[in-house]
């Protein structure tokens, strides 16, 4: 096991990909969308309940590699309880974290270990789409929400 790989699949990612805390369906939700990567077949359905102007409850279901699963799980965890106003900012921060073209070091962006784990994707550009699949689609949804 080399160091590059180790950093990509840190304990955080392996753990989160196995956790089922956020796996499932909501009975009641405000927003539902599918994050799908046609190149590899990874596919997740995300559901979000919005109440009191914040993300009250999030769930995901579907299948994908360990990185995309962990990323969906961390999305749910990280945005749970977050106010609508600050959601976009948090999503954009995550997207910058995994973006090898960013001129900021990951540590300058956050000290949240669960998020930082994904920064290793910068070293594996072909896995970036796994790391940011659900996040990118959420950003699209926010754009659509804003327009309507």
């Amino acid at each position: 096991m080399n160091e590059r790989l180790k950093s990509l699949y840190q304990t955080v990612i392996l753990q989160k990909s196995r956790e089922d805390k956020y796996v499932g369906k909501l009975n009641d939700f405000s927003l539902e969308f599918r994050a799908y990567n046609p190149m590899c077949g990874d596919q997740f359905d995300l559901q979000i309940l919005i109440e009191d102007n914040s993300f009250k409850c999030l769930k995901y279901s579907g299948s994908g590699c360990s990185i995309s699963r962990a990323s969906a799980a961390v999305l749910c965890e990280h945005l749970q309880g977050v106010e609508l106003d600050t959601v976009r900012q948090k999503v954009e921060l995550f997207l910058e974290l995994v973006d090898a073209d960013s001129d900021k070091q990951p540590e300058e962006l956050t000290d949240d270990e669960n998020l930082l784990a994904f920064a290793a994707a910068r070293e594996f550009p072909e896995r970036k789409t796994c790391a940011d699949l659900s996040w990118k689609e959420l950003l699209n949804q926010l754009d659509t929400l804003n327009q309507s």
């Binding site: 096991m1 590059r4 790989l5 392996l14 077949g41 990874d42 590699c65 360990s66």
Partner: protein
């Protein structure tokens, strides 16, 4: 056959991967590596005698025109076609299938007609027909594939009828690696006078093809999967069909006389080759055919069969590894899954070891749905692969498994 000697003709294997490993290239079903002779044919053209073809009475245009015709002849012999007129150069297999869909089939389709394909088709041999069906109210009939990866030949017999205006079928699945019995199918199709198009994209790097023996009406392939360059392929078509159908494209080089009122067309095959062709590509294809011919077909067969069998038994020994489809009529293409590890993660781990495999749906989503697998790992072999490649593959898979357990 001295595989080391063969492999030494492929310059890419001379270096290390970015992680410092030997390159173990096991994605040959996607595209194959290039021998020096193919690269040289291209470099030589661009640096020593570059010109267009078909027009231009000067050196080097005259030389290149002759060379392009020679390659046409080589392709004709390679496929055992009857005439050079049956060989049209395209941009690849996908391009060829779309061209036949538009120029041959579309103009004669009417609602109530049927197009028959199979459940193992690559998207390239599925979506063009699906779109025709949408546009013309035609029905798409899909030959079921058995658990073994073989087509249900009984089903074909029962469902073929005069209503079937084309049967489009791959000679070998790019996921399961199971070869279809084309001869058996064209024999059935003859009864109902259904033209048969063969997608031969997967077979030409390892199997000799004889279009006369197969008695197919069309056959397509891409050069890049048989040691040739990207951006070039071939459509073989029976002369009578090539003659009757509309040109594949309209433009320079296909016309006899042109006025603003009307144009009339050159004879086949030129009628179907509008515009400046991919000349470097065609020359490279010629060199690729020479490369294949210079190998002994028997020894190639034996080598690839041994490799495939060795890989099958080594892979099956891995706990939780499941191979898609059976082992009969098997080309050197193996798809599998491993319990609890996603193919994409496997691919990343293998890449660190310099091993290239494909993870995903391999442009055959309906086939994967049929086998209830969202994604698989695919390994596929060419003449330069060795048992040692497979040993390293298995080792790396075991290491990956250890990490994820």
């Amino acid at each position: 056959m001295d595989i080391d000697q063969v492999k030494s003709q492929f310059p890419i294997f001379r270096q290390k991967t970015p992680t410092g490993k030997d390159l173990i290239y096991l994605d040959n079903a996607a595209t194959s590596q290039k021998p020096q002779s193919v690269i040289d044919a291209i470099t030589n053209y661009y640096s020593k005698e570059y010109s267009t073809v078909g027009r231009g009475a000067y050196w080097p245009a005259n030389v290149n025109t002759v060379k392009i015709n020679q390659v046409r002849s080589k392709v004709k012999n390679f496929l055992n076609a009857q005439s050079e007129k049956e060989i049209v150069f395209t941009a690849g297999a996908t391009d060829g299938i779309n061209k036949i869909a538009r120029s041959f089939l579309a103009p004669k389709l009417k609602s109530g007609d049927v197009i028959m394909i199979s459940q193992v088709e690559h998207h390239a041999n599925l979506i063009p027909w699906q779109e025709l069906c949408k546009a013309y109210g035609t029905e798409l009939l899909v030959i079921p594939v058995l658990e073994s990866g073989h087509l249900d030949y009984e089903w074909i017999k029962q469902n073929l009828s005069e209503r079937v205006k084309l049967l489009a079928l791959s000679a070998c699945s790019n996921v399961l690696g199971i070869k279809n019995d084309i001869k058996r199918i064209t024999t059935m199709a003859e009864v109902t006078q259904t033209p048969v198009l063969v997608d031969a994209a997967q077979v030409l790097s390892h199997n000799r093809v004889d279009v006369q023996e197969w008695n197919c009406d069309f056959l397509v392939f891409s050069a890049h999967k048989m040691f040739g360059p990207t951006g070039v392929g071939v459509v073989y078509g029976k002369q009578s069909l090539f003659n009757e159908m509309k040109p594949f494209n309209y433009g320079g080089g296909i016309v006899k006389e042109v006025t603003f009122e009307a144009s009339n067309y050159q004879d086949i095959p030129h009628k179907h080759e509008a515009g400046t062709p991919n000349i470097a590509g065609v020359l490279g294809l010629g060199a690729a055919i020479e490369f294949i011919k210079q190998l002994s077909q028997n020894e190639t067969d034996t080598h690839l069969e041994e490799l495939t069998n060795y890989a099958l038994s080594s892979l099956k020994a891995i706990n939780g590894l499941k191979i898609m489809g059976g082992e009969q009529d098997k080309a050197p293409v193996i798809s599998f899954t491993i319990d609890g590890i996603h193919p994409h993660d496997i691919s990343t781990f293998l890449n660190e070891e310099g091993i290239c495999v494909r993870a995903g749906h391999h442009c055959a989503q309906p086939l994967l749905q049929r086998f209830e697998v969202p994604a698989s790992v695919r390994v596929s072999f060419a003449i330069y692969n060795t048992k040692s490649d497979i040993d390293k593959l298995v080792m790396a898979l075991l290491k990956t498994q250890a990490f994820f357990s």
